[in-house]
Amino acid sequence: MDIQLNAPIDKNKIKELKIGDMVYISGTIYTARDAAHKRMAEALAKGDKLPIDLNDNLIYYMGPSPAREGRAIGSAGPTTASRMDKYAPDLLDLGLGGMIGKGKRSKEVSEAIVRNGAIYFAAIGGAGALLSKAIVDSEVVAYDDLGTEAIRKLKVENFPVIVVIDPKGNNLYEEAGTLYNREKK
């Protein structure tokens, strides 16, 4: 089923989403990957304020290629989410609405998703040129010195994602493969 979703998200609305749903996101999302997560964790450890408001927001695990003149962004596909597993539960407990990435998540992340009624979406890995077309504006809002790893505020229109872990903790990766598995046992 194809569904439209606004970001920041409404946690009541995402309760209805199920694994395998194709969702088109419009609104504002933030990027952060390895180095930005490390800095946010260090800020939290020191008791400092985070540079972005997490509440009901989506973090997209992505570091773009540079934009050509006149364009909002360069190639902009998802990076592997599991590298952020160490940091994600704390951010979810602080109100983060969900994450967009690719690949498996840890049990701790899945539990934090359920605990907070959050969500994990996958974007198609390696489709960075196509996905860049759904990003209409991009602005670095923190950690500019990190280059591609800086935190960016993105304006997206119909950004295509698939629900992989829903707020109930169902996991598409665990269920999808078994349908087509025909390995000899």
Binding site: P66, S75, I124, G126, G128, A129, T148
Partner: protein
């Protein structure tokens, strides 16, 4: 001896870095078409269509196919009759990378030290594998490698008694562990034999062999086909969301090894399997 000015190498490398990140080789496009027709999952078919659209947009609008434009890896075969003039050959290649990644709007994904982790800002240094070969030409293969799939690659130091079945099982296991993280459908490069480092280098170079072109060694070709079938039987599918096509090809390179060992390296590459060759 034939003199080759290294500035020619720099220019060639610059152009290769840009071209390879915007358009896949014909063998990969052919493999996409064939895989799409084999895919049984509706979602899988949709993903293939998106990946093909992605390739069209990348080429037409000059947007890199994937934002991870990789760490630049080179295989350089230098004819022994060649004499490089005008500078340091390794610096010339790195200068080509620097210009290609800067002028081509490619992502700079390299940190200068693995633990201090400060970005070098120009995607240098490259990883360069040199080989001295007969002749008076230089053949350069540029194969930028993204790390979503690189991180899922493995080296297994098997025992001789593990044999062919041990090798097949190891490769399939590596692919299953990689799952959705490595952006399937993948291309799987395998190196069997040699030493610890030799098998890893062979696995990497195997990825640069065109998809659909099998090993010249009969039993190795059979293994390539059987392992591919077993990988596709896992059902991991495009983007790891279930389906018939998990890998597009398994390419195996082999080398002599020690009486006590059976090293096997599995270098996994995503569907953005980039490689381009130039001869100077």
């Amino acid at each position: 001896m034939r003199d080759i000015d290294v500035s020619l190498v720099t220019q060639t490398v610059r152009d290769m870095c840009i071209d390879v990140n915007h358009e896949l080789s014909p063998d990969m496009k052919e493999a996409f078409n064939e895989a799409c027709s084999k895919e049984e999952s509706e979602l899988g078919k949709q993903i293939f269509k998106q990946l093909q659209q992605n390739l069209d947009i990348a080429k037409a609008d000059k947007i890199p196919i994937c934002q991870d434009t990789g760490m630049a890896v080179f295989f350089v075969k230098v004819g022994q009759e060649v004499h490089f003039v005008g500078g340091d050959i390794t610096e010339a290649i790195n200068e080509g990378v620097r210009r290609g990644y800067t002028e081509g709007y490619l992502r700079k994904s390299v940190v200068g030290d693995p633990l201090i982790r400060k970005n070098t800002g120009d995607n240098t240094p490259a990883v360069i594998h040199y080989e001295i070969v007969p002749g008076d030409k230089v053949v350069i293969t540029c194969a930028p490698k993204g790390f979503g799939s690189e991180n899922m690659s493995r080296v297994f130091m098997l025992k001789p008694a593990d044999g062919e079945e041990g090798v097949k099982a190891a490769v399939v296991q590596a692919v299953k562990d990689a799952g959705p993280n490595a952006c399937p459908p993948m291309v799987v490069g395998v190196g069997i034999g040699g030493t610890f480092e030799k098998c890893a280098e062979m696995a990497k170079e195997a990825l640069t062999r065109p998809v659909g072109q099998h090993s010249d060694i009969g039993y190795v070709k059979d293994m390539e086909e059987e392992i591919l079938e077993r990988i596709n039987d896992t059902g991991i599918g495009p983007a790891g969301l279930g389906g018939r096509v998990t890998a597009l090809a398994v390419n195996i390179n082999t080398y002599a090894t020690h009486i006590a060992g059976l090293p096997v390296a599995v270098n996994i590459c995503c569907h953005v399997n980039r490689h381009i060759k130039a001869t100077i």
